[in-house]
Assembly symmetry: C2
Homo-oligomer: 349 residues x 2
């Protein structure tokens, strides 16, 4: 059996190719504007899945461009009517539909107040695309499953291409162009992992509560897969930074609370292991995607792309997570394409 | 039976008095520095409970001072070694112990890079107090329960006093000085509510999963009480903005998932009700603290301080939430003072 969500995950490699190739002129133009504007701070806005693209973008902008960055709180504008001094700011707005009134309101206020504005959306004629000065398109085609998968990856690639063009010395350009092939591998390897002997599907399907963790760039991946497990499988999956986990929530770790960890190679791995070790001592069973630590049983770790710059790993790692959520939802008897009570476009103010 | 946590909640009114009275000179000095520095953006840093003080501070700074504000991601500095251009920035750092190496590292990097730095901590001789240019003390005395309660409220009051001094035309000064009395009332009314016929204690104690929601200023309260329910009661309590809830997690709403909502009067109430209505239609039972909506059965709503400026309600509303967490933990057979696997000072890097 297949689902729209599964089909749309399958479309990801070609969409990524398209974002990089067809989006190149608009990306270059936006990057020139960003580097020329003397940006002093960056504010990023998004809701739901797009908020996780925003989390990814903040790590990318701060580490690659060296500009202090934070996530916007839309209600500051829509509920409280605050008027901020936006001069010297760059606002990056994420919305797959481009229709969220709160995201549009922040973008309009920032542009009127003197910020440079860049929107990343799948809909070229949407209110958000009209509101922002620059638009980067996801080029993902219509997304029919309610739970976003392909548009999320397209958002990450679009912002990675923007940052790469603004900071060409950071070495992202070459690896970006190898992503489509890596994503094909991730889809195949992810599916094989979920079918294999160490598969996490059974444990996550049986558990009403689970943890999805990482730190740094892949905090975005953890938050996004926790949301996917919630939306499609109605499971209380909590997404956490392993650092925040140690500041309290690690008490939830137990044998009946499976943990999925996104663990890239590089400087963050030791910090992630520190959190996982505490959870394992409390009895938790941990599955990892990324670079396998010596503590993880081989079957329970999906090893992916050890030679990819860590800054690009969230684009690849999220895919096996999406596949897991889709499988867990079906296993739990839910239709991952049509979560009860959700609609494709959510219009919060 | 009583607990350290319950006793320390009882100390809150006198601590608030002390922060306002004894902290007045240091608050005035820091406010003068903030208004004189031509701050263009604010970055706020904290972990765990202190991260929720940071969430509160971001709403306060943006709505009262009109300066774009975001929360810092410590791993950008500690794991990735990014060097940001901090000129024109203000960094507010929250840590009750003042010992979190990651919070200290961000503060040191920001100060060295040209930012104005203000630390809010309970420990005057801590590394954080040394790292920051200005220090606002919590004056809460030693906190013996592992789960922070009184230091959290002290952090909120300290930053509210700072913002009030920096924006004296915003009308916070008078209400700030009435807080101690209101907090005494909140402790009494909260305890009576938990003992009353519409008490949420039973439902939250029986449930392994719950939701704690609000929006705007009290998003901080929702996140903090969800963390308290996790830490002390080992319950999967998820804290959400009602806007984010509608972007996915509302599918978790069900009759066996109790919801606690912090609902201030004012512009945000309608938006909170929108989320609660969807959850109620899915069968959820909702308890509210704050201003009662016409949808809430009287016994299940704790009405508090309708005439307080919304910007100060998180200081009062959190107290019944803390009392609830303490009671739920005991009801579930846990010692709220000593959660298994946690220590008072968490040193994440």
């Amino acid at each position: 059996m297949t689902t729209l969500m599964r089909d749309e995950i399958g479309e990801i490699p070609e969409i990524v190719e398209r974002v990089l190739r067809e989006g190149e002129p608009e990306t270059r133009e936006a990057a020139t504007a960003v580097t020329g504007a003397g940006v002093r701070f960056v504010s990023i806005v998004g809701r739901g899945t797009s908020d996780h693209a925003a989390v990814y973008a903040r790590y990318l902008v701060e580490t690659m461009l060296g500009i202090p960055t934070g996530l916007a709180a839309p209600s500051v504008h829509t509920a409280y009517g605050a008027r901020l001094d936006w001069r010297g700011g760059l606002v990056l707005s994420f919305s797959q539909s481009g229709e969220g009134p709160d995201v549009v309101a922040v973008t309009e206020a920032a542009r009127a107040g003197g910020a440079l504005t860049v929107a990343i959306t799948n809909e070229p004629a949407s209110p958000l695309a009209v509101a922002a000065e620059h638009v980067l398109l996801c080029r993902a085609g219509r997304e029919r499953a309610v739970a976003a998968s392909k548009t999320y990856v397209a958002q990450l690639v679009a912002v990675a291409a923007l940052v790469s063009a603004a900071a060409p010395d950071r070495g992202l350009e070459g690896p970006l162009h190898g992503l489509a092939r890596r994503l094909e591998t991730a889809i195949e390897a992810g599916a094989a992992w979920l079918d294999g002997g160490g598969s996490p599907v059974g444990a996550f399907a049986e558990a009403d509560r689970s943890l999805v963790v990482s730190r740094g760039f892949n905090l975005a991946t953890a938050l996004e897969i926790a949301l996917k497990l919630k939306e499609t499988g109605r499971s209380f999956a909590d997404g956490y930074s392993t650092a925040d986990l140690l500041h309290g929530p690690v008490v939830l770790a137990a044998s009946d609370v499976p943990i999925l960890a996104f663990r890239p190679p590089g400087p963050i791995a030791a910090s992630i292991d520190e959190g996982l070790d505490v959870a394992r001592r409390a009895g938790a069973r941990v599955w990892t995607v990324g670079s396998r630590s010596s503590r993880a049983p081989a079957g329970e770790a999906l090893e992916l792309g050890d030679d990819l710059p860590e800054a690009l790993t969230p684009i690849v790692y999220v895919v096996p997570g999406q596949l897991l959520a889709e499988r867990v939802a079906r296993e739990r008897g839910f239709d991952p394409d049509a979560p009860v009570g959700l609609s494709k476009v959510t219009r919060t103010r």
